[in-house]
């Protein structure tokens, strides 16, 4: 087997046992990137020369007798909205095309401390606004399962890179489904941890009360191991939770006996593709034969979540993106009359159309006369949705639903119709609204051979039960073994 095919844990074990060198491992992934990247376009920035230098450094460390920490020494990729010191961080926007951060995001620093090798930065929807990675100002990433289709979004580059074996794992961010939906469309494991579980210091803000960083991996074991590497309180992020971090690896138990699964019927209604529904229900039936109990239930505010989400997220975005004024960093228009004109031209030339749309929507929802009717109303509905989940979790250990209403759609299919694009997130946004953890993993393929994703939602800070269910499902199925180029 080619080295690039290994999971992160397998690659790490071989490195540790000195069966392979870090240079061999890194070269294998670089060769893979050279072979497939022209079709996939996952990376916005790549520095293979630097990666090989880092690899040699890791080899010297190993030779000197140093033992790498778990998942250390692996070539990986980072979504281009997380700051990497000395490496451009663009948010896939003209606004930040030349921005070189003077510091590392906490998650990046933690991985560098383990001697992980950052190959480059991954494509995304501009400022993480989108569900297909088509709003990137620079390139369109293609789905490795069918390059005429989108990889999902906004972390489409991060998902496609893992699916195409162009990195052992990647990081993404999830504001309304931006990790789980592309993970589902690309047939990999993606997790949005509980709000506050992982530091967001150095993550360029979109909607601060919803944003969360999380991993894309080839399997559930790798997911737990990446969480171990990046979770925990950070004094630089006052919204990161102060708590003892569990050992997520210990949650990898192949046993769901006695676990109670809730299946909310609102997630299986109109707009959800029949093949997707069937694959998810089959998965739940399988978990039942393995000893779990399931029951149909209802989360009655689900249908209101999408509207509440787009109002809240856009309102926060309109405020967060106020910082792009052409003064401290980023783009500045070349010709202008005065200060206000400079702001306006800078922002009009620097932002793409989806970003402008969200800023306009958010500004509208916050403006005098509409604040109560839209923004405040959405925050109240947020309370109802959060309480809905709380009640469900008094009865159930996890909830299982589809991740995305459909499998990967065609490039260009939804880009001109924002409402249709927003509906891609209908199964994922409620989780962000309530700040809960959720994981997406492959649970089947549709008649075109495109992957279908299963979403497991857990209680706040109970990533362990999600991982246990996911691990059990993976141990008893073979979906994760199938590769796009072996179709």
């Amino acid at each position: 087997m080619e080295l690039y095919r290994l999971t992160a844990c397998q690659a790490y074990d071989m490195l540790k046992k000195r069966e392979i060198s870090c240079r061999e491992l890194t070269q294998s992934v670089i060769k893979r990137i050279e072979d497939v990247e022209k079709d996939i376009d996952a990376y916005l920035y790549l520095d293979t020369e630097q990666a090989l230098k880092q690899a040699d450094k890791v080899d010297r460390l190993i030779a000197s007798g140093k033992e790498l920490e778990p998942l250390g020494g692996l070539p990986i990729g980072i979504k281009d909205n997380m700051c990497t010191k000395g490496m451009t961080t663009t948010c896939a926007s003209r606004m930040l095309a030349n921005f070189v951060p003077p510091y590392d995001a906490t998650v990046v620093k933690k991985l560098k401390d383990r001697h992980d090798i950052i190959l480059g930065k991954l494509n995304m929807d501009e400022f993480a606004m989108g569900s297909s990675t088509e709003t990137s100002a620079f390139k369109k990433t293609k789905n490795p399962w069918d390059i005429s289709r989108v990889p999902g979004g906004s972390s489409g580059g991060s998902a496609a890179a893992v699916a195409a074996d162009e990195a052992f794992f990647t990081l993404g961010s999830d504001t309304g489904g931006s990790i789980r939906q592309p993970a589902s469309l690309c047939g990999v494991v993606g997790m949005k941890p509980t709000y506050g579980a992982i530091s967001r210091y150095g993550l360029i803000a979109f909607a601060s009360s919803l944003d969360q960083i999380g991993p894309f991996t080839k399997d559930v074991t790798d997911c737990a191991m990446v969480l171990n590497a990046i979770a925990g309180h950070d004094a630089n992020d006052s919204t990161s939770a102060v708590r003892e971090c569990p050992d997520y690896k210990s949650a990898l138990i192949d046993d769901v006996k006695g676990l109670k699964i809730g299946v909310p019927r609102e997630y299986f209604g109109q707009g959800i593709n029949e093949e997707v529904k069937k694959a998810v229900i089959d998965a739940i039936e399988l978990l039942k034969t393995l000893g779990a109990d399931y029951e149909e239930t209802s989360l009655k505010y689900t249908d209101y979540a999408l509207s509440a989400y787009y109002l809240i997220a856009s309102a926060e975005a309109s405020s967060n993106l106020g910082r792009y004024d052409g003064v401290k960093y980023g783009y500045r228009a070349a010709n202008y009359e005065d200060m206000i004109d400079m702001y306006k031209k800078t922002r009009s030339e620097g932002f793409g159309s989806e970003v402008k749309r969200r800023i306009m929507l958010g500004t509208y929802a916050l403006s005098s006369g509409y604040y109560d009717a839209y923004y405040l109303k959405a925050l109240k509905v947020r309370t109802l949705i959060t309480e809905d989940f709380k009640k469900a979790f008094e009865k159930y250990d996890v909830l299982i639903v589809p991740t995305s209403p459909t499998t990967a759609f065609k490039i260009g299919e939804r880009i001109d119709n924002p409402m249709e694009m927003y509906l891609s997130d209908v199964c994922t946004v409620p989780v962000n609204i309530a700040g809960l953890p959720a994981l997406s993993m492959p649970c089947g393929f549709d008649s075109r051979g495109l992957p279908i994703g299963l979403q497991i939602i857990g209680k706040a800070f109970d990533e362990e039960t999600i991982l246990r269910v996911a691990y059990t499902f993976e141990k008893n199925t073979k979906f994760h073994n199938k590769k796009p180029d072996e179709r």
Binding site: P102, T239, L311, M339, M342, K356, Y364, T386, P418
Partner: protein, 95 residues
């Protein structure tokens, strides 16, 4: 909820954006669609519901006021579009 082109003008100005005539029409149409979808929120009685701005039960987060090194000025300024004498340069604001 129909958003009129004049309203789009006003919102664009609040957002510090300049839109072409074509963009104004597109955004008026898109914003109307999105807000129409949001009309359904009015079906819910939320008179006695408290708003949730943030899901974590935290209020003020304090830390000790310690002196720590900050980032280098030159490095920070290297990302600025225009710099003069160690400062960000902006268009004239005061007459």
């Amino acid at each position: 909820m129909k958003v009129k082109p004049e309203e789009v003008d006003y919102i664009a100005s609040l957002s510090r954006l300049i839109l072409s005539q074509e963009e104004k029409e597109i955004y008026a149409n898109h914003l109307s669609q999105i807000l129409e979808h949001a009309e359904r929120l009015k079906e819910l009685d939320t008179d006695n519901v408290k708003p949730t701005a943030h899901v974590l039960p935290m209020t003020n987060v304090f830390r000790e006021d310690e002196v720590k090194p900050s980032l280098d000025r030159g490095v920070l300024l290297s990302n600025a579009p225009e710099v003069e004498s160690g400062c960000f340069k902006v268009p004239k604001i005061v007459e």
